[in-house]
């Protein structure tokens, strides 16, 4: 890793210059993009890597004998190696490209999940994104297994004792998010993984909100499945990753059938390809993989830990600013948080607030954030959510505070 020496300050102005969209205006105002948790912006390095691939290297992969096809294959497989290195996976066989975190979870539910039966249980938490709820509900419907949900407290932290109490020898899988996309809560994953293991359950970690903000290491985490999306990591949409231990993948039946996932096809029977190709039917998102690899290079050049420190400073600053606003209530005040703040403002519906902020050039997420059970727990139909990326700066927060003042003017 080529992290810059620590004494050079984190130069957010220079980083912002890497992201073309940040110098655009919206409704005639400076864009304060505070929605990176929904999807992060792309740096030039990613845009150009994809462009270069499209201009010089595109053909289908794993197929042609001609040179261009070999170039595309090299680019795609090179991206796989880049991902392997980024997450420190033991082998390329463990790195499966998917459409994103959602598809990765569905892959596990539909393939690995086939082994479940009526006496089995899956445990999730109250903080999950719909992507880590619905596939398990569907699986339980198919297999008769039971879905259990570990509760949280009013600060938005997992109730670890209750979590432990829900584990039993019936628990076959524990699936949970590393960081809550709504509350920013960082979950105690070490304890959770250890507890799951002690009853013999496998663990699936949803890293969608984590990979861009902390180094993740498949050798250190101890989980069995790890999923994430490229677009929250400054890469393109339409591509993501499923990592799983090779020994587990070997035992999993194929998921989608088609080209690339087979060795031989006869009407009398088909044999399946090796890992990881067995789980990658059809022509993959080649340029997406190239873009994802470029995003990982970019993040490493910045230093992911330095970006994290910067985001934590902004989180502290914005939290203080929010506390100073009349009638504003922060939803989710866990001890350990990622760069995410959800809130509601008394007397102003989140949706109206979102529109007023938009008018002031401030882009935030409003709504249920694909976590309806969590909204219900806090008794709010919707919240506003501010989230930071490596390029967010103090000015974004100032603009947010001014815009919230404007909302007070409008709504009195």
């Amino acid at each position: 890793m080529n992290a810059r020496p620590a004494e050079i300050p984190y130069d957010v102005a220079r980083i912002r210059a890497d992201f073309p969209v940040l110098s655009t205006t919206t409704r005639g105002k400076r864009l304060a993009f505070l929605d990176s948790a929904a999807s992060a912006q792309r740096p030039l390095a990613v845009i150009e890597a994809v462009d270069r691939y499209e201009r010089t290297s595109h053909a289908n992969v794993h197929r042609g004998v001609y040179q261009l096809s070999q170039k595309a294959t090299d680019a795609f497989e090179g991206a796989r190696e880049r991902v392997r290195r980024f997450i420190n996976a033991a082998s390329l066989k463990e790195v499966i490209f998917t459409r994103g975190a959602t598809e990765s979870i569905n892959l596990v539910a539909q393939s690995w999940g086939q082994r479940l039966g009526p006496s089995d249980e899956i445990l999730i938490t109250w903080m999950e994104h719909h992507a880590n709820i619905v596939p398990w509900q569907m699986l339980c419907e198919r297999t008769g297994a039971t879905l259990k949900v570990a509760p949280i407290n009013r600060r938005g932290e997992l109730d670890i004792e209750a979590f432990r109490a829900l584990l039993s020898p019936h628990t076959k899988l524990v699936a949970f998010t590393q960081v809550s996309n709504v509350l920013g809560t960082v979950l105690p994953i070490k304890d959770m993984i250890a507890a799951a293991r002690s009853v013999g359950a496998l663990t699936l970690l949803d890293g969608a909100q984590a990979v861009a903000h902390q180094r993740v290491d498949m050798q250190a985490l101890g989980c069995d499945f790890y999923v994430f999306s490229s677009h929250k990591l400054y890469g393109p949409t339409g591509i993501g990753v499923l990592w799983a231990r090779e020994a587990i993948l070997r035992e999993m039946p194929p998921w989608q059938g088609g080209g690339d996932m087979i060795l031989t096809v006869r009407f009398s029977g088909t044999t399946y390809n090796e890992l990881p190709y067995r789980f990658e039917a059809g022509t993959p998102n080649i340029s997406g993989a190239v873009g994802l690899a470029a995003a990982m290079d970019y993040l490493d050049s910045l230093g992911i830990e330095r970006a994290h420190t910067h985001e934590q400073r902004l989180l502290a600053l914005a939290t203080v600013a929010c506390h100073s606003i009349d009638g504003l209530q922060i939803i989710g005040e866990a001890k350990e948080k990622s760069g995410v703040i959800s809130f509601v403002v008394e007397g102003v519906h989140a949706h109206d607030l979102g529109t007023i902020l938009d008018d002031e050039g401030v882009a935030v997420r409003t709504g249920h954030h694909c976590a309806m059970p969590l909204m219900e727990f806090f008794g709010v139909p919707a919240t506003l959510r501010v989230s930071f990326g490596c390029y967010s700066n103090d000015e974004d927060i100032d603009q947010l505070v001014r815009a919230l003042g404007r909302a007070r003017e409008v709504f009195g």
Partner: protein, 159 residues
Amino acid sequence: MDLKDLYRDIILDHNRHPKNFGQLDPCDSTTHGNNPLCGDRLTLTLRLEGDRVSDIRFEGKGCAISIASASLMTEAVKGKDDLAIKHLSDLVHHMLTAHGETSAPPAELGKLAALAGVREYPARVKCASLCWHALDAALKHRANNLGETAIGCAAVSTE
């Protein structure tokens, strides 16, 4: 485009003090409208005389646009018959979705024209039209007296 065009005083007033708020009991038809995007929910109750809406009330929670729109709608449709309501509903939908249109909405919209600012905020069209969809369902379902209208859920549930 100014924010004040969206949040006109009349909208803010109707949000703060909605007209015809509550439920009619007994009623001849009722519907629940639900906009999962922002969690807006409203319940319409209607009294009917032939094909005329003799009384209407709404109850619910939602953003200022959805509350004001429902309040204005109840005022506008009370006493009107199916045909007149359908006509009004078409005019409202046209006004709400006429993105980029600068001319004034037709005079027959009356106070409903206060919602014209929504056309510059496509993300908010569903907030303003929820009550109209619910009303449409209530009139259609008057025979069997029921129906949950969920609008705006198809395209909005990922991030």
